[in-house]
């Protein structure tokens, strides 16, 4: 029971690494920088393993295990402490974040080896780890918000890592600002929670919320509004409709960043927050419905865009948006542990997809356009095999990780009372699209004819420090699903849901009754068939009839260009929000109200005062004759005033 008392060690290690590399790393050779960066994260991973070991021995009444370190903000009855906690959900997140994070750090030592700013990269990456760990270990919403904003900052720094490129700097800024829009909601949600519960600590809020009567559907009580506001933050961080626009652009960052931040960990923070606040959400059916619908819609919407993208990383980016939608769909129908399970398996296979894509890009000397690849399977065998494993996992091939987690989500959606069948139908169709665009990616990249200039590009396999993480993640993409192998399989038990049971309560939908069993098996069969369909369509289009996609695109020009241009959403936002706001600020507020209006009025007053004084000054001309005139006029005036009672009309005159 040593490390449980020093929970702070886990986030502190990467923070230390970030500080050391950031302050001194500039003059160090790469291997020292890597040692600090990888070492601190590795130690953090080991510490997390130790925490998990100790945690399993804790008696149930001591969970969540909490440590209070210091008071960070206090005013009146408000207190925000630097309080860390560990419960089952935190353990899962810790494992994912430090485990996958460590692998990606290792991979980066190979991938970034020839890049400038090596120390800067590792410093930022460690900083990200610090904030992400704060996020998942925080015991109150304010500290969670520290991590929340902090990962946004690290993301900003890492997306803009190649800051000499305008597109990269733009993308970083866009990510931060769009996230801030979500944070606006998140903050208001916190304020409402504080007004309602008088605290922002998880313990008191959830304890009190548990006893509150749930809102009816369509009723906007406190819990519903608070949940919706928190979810607004989640849509920003986790790239859901309508705030998903930053994530595809975030691919400007180095590929390990895309894998770690924009696939495996940071973007899942929104899902984590919803799951963490499940007590609030389950008391707010309207909010749950919104979460499910937004998640489902995003999953479908992003998958359609992914169908036609040609940049290998962009396909994966839209795929990530889509898969995050699945996680929200799960939360929205109340299957929180299924959502977190998909979060975990997705972290494995999506990190793998990105890292493998990075390996491809590495092999192709920076080429990211799949139209200029092809036939790489034989040249970079390890990359090919691992990427194929990840593709099978995400497509839902039986036995692979994604099969179990996606299956659990679709099954829960199907059973959901409100609109379950519609959600299920969209979810299933999205699975078809997923399978199609992923195999499209595989076929375009690794199969078919070579479409690049073999004289200029010598496709080569990546070094071992990049391949080893790929292989480990591939293994996890296969076995990672068996934690939750549904009970209909022989000997299978949903260990995952059982482990998370104390957090989410026993009301999980999966497993149990015999009726559900046969249904689940049927649905699983349907899902596999759907995935196969996607595979065959991709096979037919990209292997057997390679000319077909082009002619299809021609015959469906309208739909194709709409998808290729991502439904013109960026253009729409620019035209409706960004440009009018800038125009309003520049032409109306600044040049109109400020300069012409207020300042004009002020200067006008000043000028009229000057002008008035100027007139007055003219009377003081120094001309004796004009003074004489004034004296006479004055004298006359005095006389008139003095004698006014006598000479006034009707006064009787000088009688």
């Amino acid at each position: 029971m040593l490390l449980l008392h020093g929970l702070w060690v886990i986030p502190a290690l990467p923070l230390l690494g970030a500080a050391v590399n950031g302050l001194f790393g500039r003059k160090w050779p790469n291997n020292i920088v890597s040692a600090v960066g990888v070492g601190s994260t590795g130690l953090s991973f080991l510490a997390s393993l130790e925490i998990m070991r100790e945690f399993r021995r804790l008696p149930a009444e001591q969970i969540p295990w909490m440590r209070q370190y210091f008071t960070w903000i206090t005013a009146g009855n408000f207190r925000a402490g630097f309080d860390l906690q560990v419960d089952q959900l935190t353990i899962v997140m810790l494992m994912v974040v430090t485990g996958v994070g460590w692998l990606i750090h290792i991979y980066s030592t190979g991938y970034m080896a020839h890049e400038g700013g090596y120390y800067r990269f590792f410093s930022y990456l460690n900083l990200f780890m610090f904030f992400m760990l704060i996020l998942v270990m925080a015991a109150n919403y304010v500290l969670l918000f520290v991590g929340w904003e902090g990962v946004g900052l690290s993301s900003y720094l890492l997306i803009g890592f190649y800051f000499l490129r305008k597109s990269a700097a733009d993308a970083g800024k866009k990510a931060f600002i769009v996230n801030r829009i979500g944070d606006f909601g998140f903050m208001l949600g916190m304020f409402l929670l504080f007004r309602t519960f008088g605290s922002l600590d998880f313990g008191p809020i959830f304890a009190k919320a548990k006893d509150m009567p749930p809102d009816a559907i369509g009723q906007f009580g406190v819990l519903t509004i608070a949940s919706l506001l928190l979810f607004m933050g989640a849509t920003g961080k986790s790239a859901q409709l309508p705030l998903y626009v930053w994530l595809p652009d975030a691919m400007e960052g180095p590929t390990p960043v895309s894998a770690l931040i924009h696939a495996a960990t940071m973007v899942t923070a929104g899902v984590y927050v919803v799951a963490r606040s499940h007590v609030l959400f389950t008391h707010a059916p309207t909010a749950m419905l919104v979460v499910a619908v937004v998640g489902c819609a995003t999953a479908f919407f992003a998958a359609t865009i992914g169908l036609v993208q040609t940049d290998i990383k962009r396909v994966l980016a839209y795929s990530t948006v889509s898969q995050l939608g699945y996680m929200f769909l799960a939360c929205g129908v109340g299957a929180f542990s299924a959502g977190i399970f998909h979060l975990m398996t997705h972290a494995f296979f999506k990190a793998l997809l990105f890292l493998a894509a990075g390996s491809v890009i590495h092999a192709m000397n920076g080429e990211q356009d799949m139209r200029r690849m092809g036939g790489l399977a034989g040249k970079i065998k390890w990359t090919y095999i691992t990427m194929l494993v990840a593709t099978l996992a995400i497509a839902g091939a039986p036995g692979f990780a994604g099969f179990f987690s996606k299956d659990a989500i679709l099954f829960s959606a199907y059973q959901s009372e409100t609109g379950g069948h519609i959600l299920y139908a969209f979810g299933l169709f999205t699975a078809l699209l997923t399978s199609f665009y992923m195999f499209r990616l595989i076929f375009l990249t690794f199969h078919g004819e070579r479409r690049y200039d073999g004289r200029r590009v010598h496709a080569h396999e990546s070094p071992s420090n990049m391949l080893v993480p790929l292989v480990i993640l591939a293994a996890l993409s296969i076995v990672g699903g068996w934690f939750a192998a549904p009970s209909f399989l022989p000997g299978g038990t949903d260990y995952f849901a059982r482990f998370l049971g104390p957090v989410f309560g026993g009301a999980e939908g999966t497993g149990g009754e015999a009726a559900a069993h046969s249904l689940e098996i049927t649905l699983a069969g349907v899902a596999v068939a759907t995935a196969l369909a996607g595979f065959f369509v991709a096979l037919w289009l990209y292997i057997q009839k390679p000319d077909k996609p082009e002619s299809l695109a021609k015959s469906l020009r309208g739909a194709y260009t709409t998808l290729l241009n991502k439904y013109y959403v960026d253009e729409l936002y620019a035209a409706v929000v960004v440009n009018p706001l800038v125009w309003l600020s520049r032409k109306v507020l600044w040049q109109g109200v400020d300069v012409a209006g207020i300042d004009g009025a002020v200067n006008g007053i000043a000028e009229s005062a000057t002008a008035f004084g100027d007139r007055l000054r003219r009377t003081q001309s120094g001309n004796t004759r004009s003074y004489a005139v004034w004296v006479v006029i004055g004298a006359l005036a005095i006389i008139v005033i003095l004698f006014w009672p006598l000479i006034r009309p009707g006064a009787g005159g000088l009688r």
């Binding site: 008071t71 960070w72 903000i73 206090t74 005013a75 009146g76 009855n77 408000f78 304010v142 918000f145 520290v146 904003e149 902090g150 900052l153 900003y156 803009g160 800051f163 000499l164 490129r165 305008k166 700097a169 733009d170 800024k173 931060f176 600002i177 801030r180 829009i181 944070d183 606006f184 903050m187 208001l188 916190m190 304020f191 409402l192 504080f194 007004r195 706001l581 800038v582 309003l584 600020s585 520049r586 507020l589 600044w590 109200v593 400020d594 207020i598 300042d599 002020v602 000043a606």
Partner: protein, 535 residues
Amino acid sequence: MTPATLHFVSGGHLLTVVIFFPALGALALLILRSEDHEWIRRVSFTVAAAEFVLSLLLIPGVPLGSGTYHLEEFHPWIASPPIQYHLGVDGISLFLVILTTFLTPISILASWTSIHARVKEFFVMLLLLEVGIVGVFLSLNLFLFFLFWEVMLIPMYFLIGIWGHERRIYAAVKFVLYTMAGSILMLVGILWLYNATGTFDLPTIQQMLQGGLLALSPRAETLLFLAFFVAFAIKVPLFPFHTWLPDAHVEAPTAGSVILAGVLLKMGTYGMIRFCLPLFPDASRRYAPAIAVLAIIGIIYGALVALVQPNLKKLVAYSSVSHLGFVVLGIFALQNISMQGAVFQMLAHGISTGALFLLVGMLYDRRHTFEIDDYGGLATPMPRLAAFFLFVALSSLGLPMLNGFVGEYLVLLGTYQVHWKWTAWAATGVILSACYLLWSYQRVFFGEVTNDKNRALADASARERWILASMAVVILWMGIGSPFFTRRFATSCQTVLDQMQRPWAYEAAAPRPTAAGPHASSSALGSSLERFGSR
């Protein structure tokens, strides 16, 4: 050191020393030869640094959890009319004084190489400015307060008018006229209060008003409130009284901008807390919604106008309008948490915006331009300065764990408890501040260097690094260790809110005090003298 020992050690004159020590320094500067620039700088920096250390002695002077004035000094000064030299410090003024004494040596360091003409006069003015500002924060007598309030204008006028940039005269005159317009109203208000009470002593007037010895008719209270409020609102500046600010900032030398944004603006919000709320509570309550609306307009408007500024310094100036809007909102939400947030935001803004002006000044020293378009890609030639700039920008946009977050968060949180709609509008400022800061940062520092003049710019010098590092340390400390500050002014904030309570009913309890004016005033003065005699 307990307050009592401190008081004893300083001979009971610690506050006087803290106010006038820089004036001594200014005198010492006068002795030096004007050509002896190096020594002038050294002496003024030493004086300012010593003043900073002196002001730190005030911290043990204000015990935790106390909401009253400490280290008070009370001496008869002018017999007729009766004006006392009355000083005191509480949790709110404590850190404003320290902020002033911290920013002054920093500004002196920042002016080390950038001031070439009339060097001696420059530093004399800077030190005299410090006297005026610290005096404002420590005065408990309305006359004395007004005196310092006006005295501070003179050095600032010269700082802008002599050492400023192209349109300095216009800006200096505008600054003075704006402030004077408000001051005159305040002077009328002060004289009215004297006429009604026979004293200029703030605590005495406060007691008389709260105890029912003096009852203001609603009309009189409203007029008085407005007289004070407008003077303060111009200083803050609250929308729509803000147009002097961009001009003054752009034209002022770096040191002037730092002090102006760092502390001068806070004299306005300080005045609101110290005078408007406790003396005229009913009017404050009545006008709070209107003022909050102006504050919210200021937050959004300032941010939007900052967004489109082509001039970097003007951008920072408009961002002040936005940030000070949070302070005013926090004050007029009339709520403990939001008031603490407002005070904290005053300090945080002083540091962050002061640092931003320092950084902009450092860029100006190198390139002699404030136009954003003249820059671009500076992160390549000056990585250190770029890193500091980003750090400060992040603190200004309210990143958690840095100082800007705490104030903004508490203001919004506190305001939400009573007026959620105000908060919802004001919180959009959180989005907008990210927009203007990150956008301008990108245009100045990211991308390739496009202008050849920027290619070989020197990175931060050792002196600049010291300046920026000390600012960064404070930013971080305030962001992580905020209770060190809030615990010291929490009770004072509550005291202000308590002083707004009037335990008696207007019609029933109060005699007609205006009729009994002379009598009331003499007894009030008696009571205040008794208060100090009994110590």
